[in-house]
């Protein structure tokens, strides 16, 4: 009898805790303050960027700075929004951590190889697209895999990154393949080298960066999806979004955008940066 009492009281506390936690979980996020006003007051915009993705956002071991196309665009946008002395602060994110961090208000905006998709637009707002990527495949040279169709066989393993849109896509394009999700692109590339998957799939821009870093690997299959990258901003931050869009238009108009594009993609084999110029 005593035992029963203890078990019921334990269950009681457990259910109480679950209720409390759910209540907390479903509460609206705190980031209902005006991001633009805050950022102007602090003269700083906090950006979520990748640190494992060559060409877009990669940690430089020499000086502990993240460098890449996304980072440079973020800096240029910051200068347009806050003025010449505006400060851009960078927080490292992965495909998995970026949306929760934005919604929680740890970062003001995401500029991290993030595709604008209808599902994500239910959760966050996007700026206009600032880069047009397309999903593709990275394989070992001489691999029998030439296109996404070759992956659609039972037992084929494809490597991707948790939270990336490319993982959701591959389930549509090659439903028979098994997708293995790693935590970031460095891990996914390492897994490809170890033979954990037949191909690594994500956007071509990222894959070209990997191919230049890893001789013996090539991008195949062309771009089988359209992946327009956008800057993600919390819902209800209309002023901030308008400023970011304005800034993007300005840097496209005054040639800053093309300069940054050339800096990062000018010498990437297989990538025609002139076609991507705006």
């Amino acid at each position: 009898m005593k035992k029963l009492k203890r078990i019921t009281s334990a269950l009681g506390i457990l259910s109480l805790l679950v209720i409390v936690l759910t209540a907390c979980g479903s509460r609206k996020s705190l980031s209902q303050q005006d991001v633009l006003q805050n950022d102007r007051a602090n003269n700083t915009i906090t950006w979520g960027v990748k640190a494992d993705t060559k060409l877009f956002g990669l940690m430089d071991v020499k000086d502990n700075q993240v460098k890449g196309f996304d980072v440079d665009i973020a800096k240029a946008v910051t200068k347009r929004v806050l003025g010449k002395n505006g400060h851009a602060k960078f927080v490292q994110v992965t495909s998995q951590t970026r949306i929760p961090l934005l919604k929680n208000g740890n970062i003001d905006a995401i500029i991290a190889t993030m595709t604008i998709t209808p599902e994500r637009e239910k959760q966050v707002d996007f700026s206009q697209s600032y880069f047009d990527a397309g999903q593709s495949l990275l394989v070992k040279e001489g691999s029998s895999i030439k296109s996404v169709k070759d992956l659609n066989k039972p037992g084929t393993k494809v490597l991707g990154v948790t939270g990336a849109n490319s993982v959701a896509n591959i389930k549509k394009f090659a439903p028979k393949a098994r997708v293995l999700e790693l935590s970031d692109y460095a891990q996914a590339m390492t897994a490809l080298k170890s033979g954990q998957g037949a191909a690594l799939t994500t956007d071509n821009g990222i894959l070209y960066g990997m191919a230049t870093q890893n001789p013996g690997y090539q991008v195949v299959g062309g771009a089988f999806t359209k992946e327009p990258y956008g800057i993600a901003i919390n819902k209800g931050q209309g002023d901030f979004k308008a400023e970011v869009n304005k800034a993007l238009k300005e840097i496209e108009a005054d040639g800053t955008y093309n300069r940054i594009l050339k800096k990062w993609f000018g010498n990437v084999p297989g990538f025609d940066y002139k076609e991507a110029a705006r």
């Binding site: 907390c24 979980g25 509460r27 705190l30 060559k54 071991v61 390492t190 080298k193």
Partner: protein, 217 residues
């Protein structure tokens, strides 16, 4: 061999050491905080204050039985929902402290239980209050008895900081991953180096605990 020499360039080693520093920072703060909180929780659980001890006991059991990664996710992603927005370093330290405090609470409680109850009676007979006896007589002995267990728990803590690489805490494993992610020829040298770094710290601590245990015994 060539790979090893190139991999251990000063730039890379310095980058690893920066990671190691974060690992040490998180570990030291969490060890101190969890030792204090864990001891208090362990004592409170032992003294059996109505309801309070039961609630503490249940929460401690919940935390102890969850994977640490989940607790890291809860502090990093969950706390902002409660109106508190921790940075990554603080979120990790908080998660480690919550988890390790729960583990230590259990160790301290069992340590107190292992101390002969006659000592409490003796101390009370000599005019000490219950709290005085607990603090001056029972608690120090409980800690003495459990030093090896406590230290091995701290060693686990140091090792477990590597889990925070999933939220991109710039600790040792994360920095190694960044280096070998950029040049996969460095995978083995990096694994060897970080395994060595973790080993040296953890082994030194376990040797220290053995010496301490012998001295106090």
């Amino acid at each position: 061999m060539q790979n090893f020499i190139q991999a251990y360039s000063w730039v890379n080693i310095r980058f690893l050491l920066e990671g190691l520093w974060v690992t040490v920072e998180v570990s030291v703060v969490s060890i101190i905080a969890s030792f204090i909180i864990g001891s208090i929780l362990g004592v409170l659980r032992y003294v059996k204050i109505k309801y309070l001890s039961a609630v503490i006991g249940f929460v401690v059991d919940m935390v102890r039985n969850l994977p640490l990664i989940l607790i890291i996710f809860f502090t990093y992603f969950g706390l902002p929902h409660l109106g508190f927005k921790p940075g990554i370093l603080f979120a990790t330290i908080l998660a480690m402290t919550i988890f390790e405090s729960a583990m230590l609470a259990e160790i301290v409680r069992s340590g107190i239980l292992a101390v002969d109850y006659g000592q409490m009676e003796g101390a009370r007979a000599n005019g000490m209050t219950y709290v005085q006896a607990l603090w001056h007589i029972i608690f120090p002995q409980a800690i003495k008895k459990t030093i090896p267990t406590i230290v091995s728990q701290f060693i686990s803590l140091i090792k477990d900081t590597s889990l925070a690489t999933i939220i991109v805490l710039p600790e040792l494993l994360n920095h190694a991953q960044i280096i070998y992610g950029q040049n996969t020829a460095y995978i083995i040298p990096m694994f060897v180096m970080i395994a060595l770094m973790y080993f040296v710290i953890c082994y030194a601590l376990s040797v220290l605990s053995r010496i301490l245990d012998k001295k106090l015994a």
